[in-house]
Symmetry: C5
C-alpha cells in the first residue's frame, strides 16, 4: 500500500455504471515524513476519508476486494486512515 | 484511476480480434491542475469521450470489467468524463 | 496500451514451455509523435509485426487473453499494428 | 520481488475489514548493496519482520497468496527475511 | 518481458512456505545493448540460469504460470535464457 493525503474530490456524471455511488477522491502520494512524492491519482474510498486526511491506498485488482460482489472498475482504493506512524530507521535497538 | 486528456485517435486494421469495434483514443495523463505529466497511452473507451475532453481511466485488468462478457485485451480504459474537480489541499476546514 | 516500434528479435532455446512457438520481439516504446521514450522490452506477438513497424502492445495479464486456452507466461503482447494516428490536442473544435 | 528495509510501523483504526489483525510495516526499498532507492511503501507481513531488518516483498495480487482463504486487500507483502546476499556481477567464473 | 543479467543470489531461511525450494536470483535489468537500466530485483527461476547470464523475466501474476499447481508468491520469474539478440532499428529493409 502507499501513503497519501486526500487533496480534493472529482465529480462525473458520464461514467461506467460500476462507479455509480462511489466517491472519487483525489489523492497526493506522500512519504512517511509527509512530503508529496509522485503524481496525484483518483481513488475510490472504502473508509469515509475527508479532505486533508492522511490515508493509505492499494492499487491494482486488490482494490476491488473492498467492494466484494460488485465489479468496481477501480485500480486504486483508500483502505485505511492513518492514526499514527512510528519511524525507527536502521535498527534503533528494538522491534518495529 | 488517473486523470487524462484525450489528445487523438488511432486507427488499426491488423489487430487482436478482441479489439474489433473498440475505439482507441490517445490520452495524455494530466495533473489535477490540468498540466501534462508522464507518457501518453492508448485507451479503449467506455464513455464516448471526444478530443480535448478531461477524462479518467483505469489501468490493469480492471479496465476489462467495463466490457463484461468479452475478453478485451486492453490494459487501460476510459471509465468517466470529468465534470468538475474540487481541490482543497491540506485541510481547508471542511469535508472533501 | 502503449505505442512502440519493433526494433529487433530475440532467440532463446532454454525457456519456459509456454513460450515455445512464440516469436519474441524487442519493442522500443515511442510517443504519439514517434520519439523513443523509456525502456525497451520484449513482447510476444499476436499480429505478425516486423522490424520497424509501429505497433501497440498491452501489459499485464491482459496480454495473455490473446492466446486463450494456452497459459503463455508473457506480460507484454503486441495486439495491433498502427495504420494511422490523428492528433488533435486541446479541442480543435471537433470530435476525436 | 524487491529488497527493502523495515523502517517503521503504521497504526490505523479506521480500515478495511480485510486488514484487521494485519501488521502494517513501512518499507524502504534498497539496492542489493543496501542503499535506499525509490519510494517507501506500506507492506503487510507474513514473516514477523522487525524494524531495521532486510526483507523482500512481493507486489500485486501475488501478495495475497500468503493469506489464502482470506481476501486481504493488500498489494505488497513481506514474504521473506534476508539471511545473506551473494553478488557476483558479470561472470566471476562460477555458478550463481 | 524484460531483459536482465543475473548478478547474484539471495538466501533466506524465514520465508513464505510457497517460496520453499525456489532459487532466488538477483537480476539487474539491462537494455538490448546490454547496459544496466533501472533497479535490481529478485526473481524466482524456471530455467536454471546462473551468474552472469543474460535472461528475460516476466513480472506480475504471469510469473506464477511457470509453476502451475503451486501458488508461488512471486511477482518476477526468469522464463528464458537469451541465445542471441538481433537489433535492426528503424526498418533496415527486411523483416524482424
Amino acid at each position: 500500500m502507499y501513503l497519501g493525503r486526500v487533496t480534493g474530490r472529482l465529480w462525473s456524471s458520464i461514467k461506467n455504471p460500476g462507479l455509480e455511488a462511489q466517491r472519487l477522491l483525489i489523492v497526493q502520494p506522500v512519504t512517511p515524513e509527509g512530503e508529496p512524492t509522485g503524481k496525484a491519482l483518483i481513488c475510490t474510498d472504502a473508509t469515509g476519508a475527508g479532505a486533508g486526511e492522511l490515508i493509505y491506498w492499494v492499487r491494482g485488482r486488490e482494490a476491488t476486494f473492498a467492494f466484494q460482489g460488485v465489479d468496481v472498475p477501480s485500480d486504486a482504493t483508500i483502505v485505511g486512515i492513518v492514526d499514527e506512524i512510528h519511524l525507527g530507521k536502521r535498527k534503533p535497538g528494538g522491534g518495529a
